[in-house]
């Protein structure tokens, strides 16, 4: 029994050394391997890996609330976007210190200096703390009202879609002062390092991988703890848990806030690598896509979310360059097949198959 448990755990834990390998491979592939070799990674490739890792973290965040807790949020883009925008505000502050030129959107809106509240985001550490606090507060406010009202299932999903849609519409308005449709771009420095320098780009990608590893270990630990068990129980039968005396809305709220913070952190690392943030980051489509990554990978398994995000986004970047007309059909087909036939997703099915054919041990 211990052996089975240890085996299961080691499979799942296996992803950690894989990710660490990838992390080490990144600088190695750029500096050590010559450009003509197929294993060499250009700066473009490294950048791509970094972005995909951010998406994987975002998927992990959603799996925390969906897979473990049964809350399908179709609005996680809100928190991803919050992290992205707040990071962009810091980056614009840094760029101003560098170039002494106001961002474009402030110029054409007629501002002659940064608005007062922008000064909060002049230091990276303050920005990170404020982002975490703000995201937790917003998530907390929403979760408090929603979970107490016992809103669940599809209603909650639709409401989160509506909220992310509303936020996107709001961000499109230039008068809000966050760049409108133009978004925010023109970043030059981060924490003093030049953003376009090779080492910075590699560093950001490495950070994304490491953050993913840390988050995965943390969430896995949480999932195996009694808190995690309670969450799974709430997912399976909330009424019973309530009857047993658990304060289910508090449990859900905690998971929800943690998930929101993780999503925000993913956004914070995503934006410097992409170099621009605009309201499409909070579009309803992206938020649904996150759920699709988790579903394809296998919800509830945590690794599944990571695998799903990496697989889908990797394919997307590759195929939309090669065959832009075909990608939506492929994505749609894969999603349909997975949702209808492989309810557990790729990883879930793999795991079920392996545990059936392997030692015959059942979980």
């Amino acid at each position: 029994m211990f052996a089975t448990k240890w085996m299961d755990q080691s499979i799942e834990f296996g992803i950690v050394p894989v990710l660490i390998l990838v992390t080490l491979y990144l600088p190695f592939a750029y500096f050590a391997i010559p450009a003509s070799n197929a294993l060499h990674l250009s700066l473009f490739g490294i950048n791509l890996i970094g972005q995909i890792m951010c998406f994987a973290l975002l998927a992990l965040a959603l799996d925390l609330v969906w897979g473990l807790c049964g809350i399908l949020s179709l609005g996680h883009g809100i928190f991803f976007g919050m992290g992205g925008y707040l990071m962009a505000m810091y980056l614009l502050n840094a760029a101003y210190l560098d170039t002494h030129v106001l961002p474009d959107f402030m110029q054409y809106m007629g501002a002659s200096a940064f608005p007062a509240f922008w000064h909060v985001f002049e230091r990276l550490d303050v920005t990170v703390l404020v982002t975490i606090a703000l995201t937790a507060a917003v998530a907390g406010a929403f979760g408090f009202v929603t979970f107490r009202s016992r809103i669940n299932g599809v209603y909650l999903s639709i409401i989160t879609q509506a909220l992310t849609y509303a936020l996107m519409l709001l961000l499109f308005i230039n008068d809000i002062g966050l760049g409108g449709n133009n978004g925010m771009t023109g970043f030059t420095r981060i924490a003093g390092y030049r953003l376009e320098a090779v080492s910075t780009q590699i560093g950001l990608a490495v950070c994304s991988c490491l953050l993913l590893v840390v988050a995965y270990i943390g969430v896995r630990f949480l999932a195996r703890s009694s808190f995690g068990r309670a969450l799974i129980a709430v997912r399976d039968d909330e009424a019973r848990m309530r009857f047993l005396g658990y304060r289910t809305h508090t449990l859900k709220l905690l998971a929800w806030c943690l998930s929101a913070v993780l999503a925000a952190l993913a956004g914070m690392l995503y934006v410097p690598q992409v170099g621009i943030v605009n309201p499409t980051i909070v579009s309803p489509q992206l938020s649904v896509e996150i759920a699709v990554w988790v579903a394809i990978g296998g919800r509830g398994t945590l690794i599944g979310a990571i695998v799903g995000a990496i697989l889908v986004n990797g394919l997307k970047f590759w195929l939309s360059a090669q065959l832009p007309s075909v990608w939506p059909f492929i994505l749609a087909g894969v999603t349909l097949i997975i949702t209808v036939y492989f309810g557990n997703g790729l990883w879930g099915t793999l795991k079920a198959a392996a545990s059936n054919t392997g030692m015959g041990a059942r979980r």
Binding site: L169, P284, P328, A332, T339
Partner: protein, 552 residues
Amino acid sequence: MEMIAFGRFLRLGMAVVWLLAGHLAFAATPGDASAYASRTAVIAAFCDTDGDPAAALGKLVEAGVSADQGAREWATQVMGAIRNGAFACGTNGQAVILGNSLGNSPVDAVTLAAPASVPAGMSPYVPSIVMMRKLAVAAAETGLFAADREARLAAAQQVDKFFPLLDPTIVTRAVHSEHDTQVLTVLKLAMAKRGLNSDAREARLAAIQAVAEVPSEAALTSLENFILQPGVQSDPEVIAAAKKAIQGINTWLMFGRGLSIIFSGLSYAGVLLLTALGLSIVFGLMGVINLAHGEFIMIGAYSTYLVERFMQSYLPGVFGAYIFVAIPVAFLICAACAMLLEFFVIRFLYRRPLETLLATWAVSIALIKLVQVLFGSQNVEFVTPDFLNGGVQVSPGFFVTYNRVFAIVLALLIFLATFAVIRFTKLGLLMRATTQLRDTARCLGVPAPRIDRLAFGLGGGLAGLAGVVLTQIASVNPSMGTGFVVDSFMVVVLGGAGSLAGTVVSSLALGEINQFIEPFYGAVAAKVVVLLLIVLIIQKRPQGLFALKTRS
């Protein structure tokens, strides 16, 4: 006595000579070089960069109202050609009137006959905006003497619209020669309004009254400008009358604006109702969130496009009716698509609403891409049927466009038809039973899966009908559906899933609220406020306004 008679005879003679001279100046007797010479001068004034087109236009008008038939025709042709962009100048001063849509070959602008040689380097004469106004008035003034009564009435209304620019001598002549009472009224009104420019106080007061009797935005402008004139400032009685008139017009306009907002709210509500109706039925019955609903709307719109193309090619005579033909076509196509979707995808996801969400999302992106590949991703333009073009000024400040009236009426009719189906038909009865108590209905032998499929088909068909209506008021492209999905879900969630009355009430409420906020804060802010409002209400009352059954 003899002196007076002689005087009269002299004046009559002079009139005759004047008329004859007018006739001679512009008459087109063949070989009459002097007549052509004056015409050539007029034409040259348009084509020359140093020419005076305004004066030339005056001469054209003179010809157009003269007694000579040939001159009138020549003037009408030239003015019409200039207004239609068919007047082209050559490099050597010659000008032609290019062929019109009936395929006539170019004619010389002076002789109105085929030119000896078509000169090279013809470039169309493009009138400036000021010239266009003068042309409009000129054409109207010429039209005052047309044989056809309708043409005279239209010309009179045009003259009335541009009353500051009218030529009083010509209009007075028209008044004298006019017999029809309606045309006369319009002409007299125009002349009265022009009295605003006169110096006599009586004329001014009469003009103010005339203007105040027909309140409109233009009337307001002319009175406001009138007050600012220095000559008027000194006369307190006139100012008082004008201010009173302005106040009256403003009241009318405010009333009209209020009506406009209510009307826009109704039309927006109609659109919301149409898009949300099918969703309400499906969601209430099956608890299925169909993210492909927007795409059914889009398929309905594209079906309309196909019908339009078909009728344009094969049935051009009844082309205007394509909207009505499209209604059953779109309904059937979308219902079929919906039933296929249910058969192949949804029915495997029974009792798994979250998976249904993702599966329908996948279908929606595939549908969007499919339509993009088939039709291209650009906007599809629809030729508006004639009866939907334009609008009517119902009351000052309240202008109603026919396409929106059509949308409202159609939305209402479709709703009533759906209500009838749900309430009075067997299918409706079975659907209601399955929605309210599914298991009991099944026990009583109701084939729930089949009802599901039919209901889904009905929902899809209704979405298709929404698409038909939207072709006239929104832009049609492959991703048009995504803009409606969130809104229609909000309407359904607020109104209560499965409740038709709830859908109507919530779409009315949301439509009106949206249109009340829009003039002040813009369309986007209105939308955001409405969304947030709904989210707040749902927190308090999750089952919606008219709950059929609780869902938490």
